[in-house]
Symmetry: C2
Subunit: 163 residues, 2 copies
């Protein structure tokens, strides 16, 4: 049984989301944002309008989060961007894929025509697999664009799907 | 003879840069930013740190501009992003290519390892040609990601080169 509840974030969720963001940033293997990211930068990306933020709970603990927002302004604003974090202790239970599927529904509901990820770390095989399972295709590859904490410079991928 | 002088922008140049930005945004054929872009958004992108801004003058009139800035935060901050505007009345004189070449020098001097354009409108053949002449390769294609004012949805390209 899928043990998670996915719901809209409220103001009270920000500390938990920020803690997840900080951990993912410090890990240095999935996010361009690093351990020096100011809280207001993370919040502006992930939590404040035009972003919409959702959280996944197991029992009453926040163990996952995603946001949906426009990827470009104006004439590119019909394409959404999304970001996802799954807590290390609940990985391998299908939560990333579930969050991504929900985010596609949210993006559709908000009127977006497509969704784009700008910077998927190529060595993050679990993420690439999850996004491909959700219908995303790799449409670009950025050579050495991510400085992985352990592996050094690795490629980042651009992934895209229509809605 | 190349009739342009390219130099660092000063605070006094912002009104001219903003006027060029507004015209390019209103044209609806090259920039994701549209005619509703607030001045502070344009300035933050193009003019304020960490962006560095340059202008091209013909006589004493500003007829071109570019910026260089990090394309991603933190672990992606070694790749630069650049943006360019050439006034319609001076097109066809090689200014776009000259601005791009200068921006590559600036990016190198600032310590960047590569440069990336996230959103080159595929129908903007003069730009694609100029960037390719400056060593950029198309590394990604975003289907229908730009709503062209006259042509409707057209592709946008991701272009990249090492420095």
């Amino acid at each position: 049984m899928f043990p998670f509840t996915i719901r809209s974030a409220t103001e009270a969720d920000w500390p938990a989301v920020w803690a997840m963001f900080r951990s993912a940033a410090a890990a240095g293997d999935v996010l361009a944002y690093d351990e020096h990211t100011p809280e207001e930068v993370a919040r502006k990306l992930w939590f404040d309008p035009p972003a919409v933020c959702y959280v996944a709970e197991e029992d009453v603990r926040v163990v996952g989060t995603y946001y949906v927002r426009p990827n470009q302004p104006g004439r590119g604003g019909h394409v959404a961007n999304g970001g996802y974090i799954v807590a290390p202790e609940v990985r391998g239970k299908g939560l990333a894929k579930a969050l991504c599927e929900r985010s596609l529904e949210v993006a559709r509901r908000l009127g977006f025509a497509a969704m784009q990820f700008n910077f998927v770390v190529a060595t993050n095989a679990a993420a690439v697999r999850a996004w491909e399972a959700c219908g995303f295709a790799v449409v670009g590859r950025l050579p050495g664009a991510f400085r992985h904490k352990e592996l050094g410079a690795v490629d980042a991928l651009v992934m895209f799907r229509e809605l």
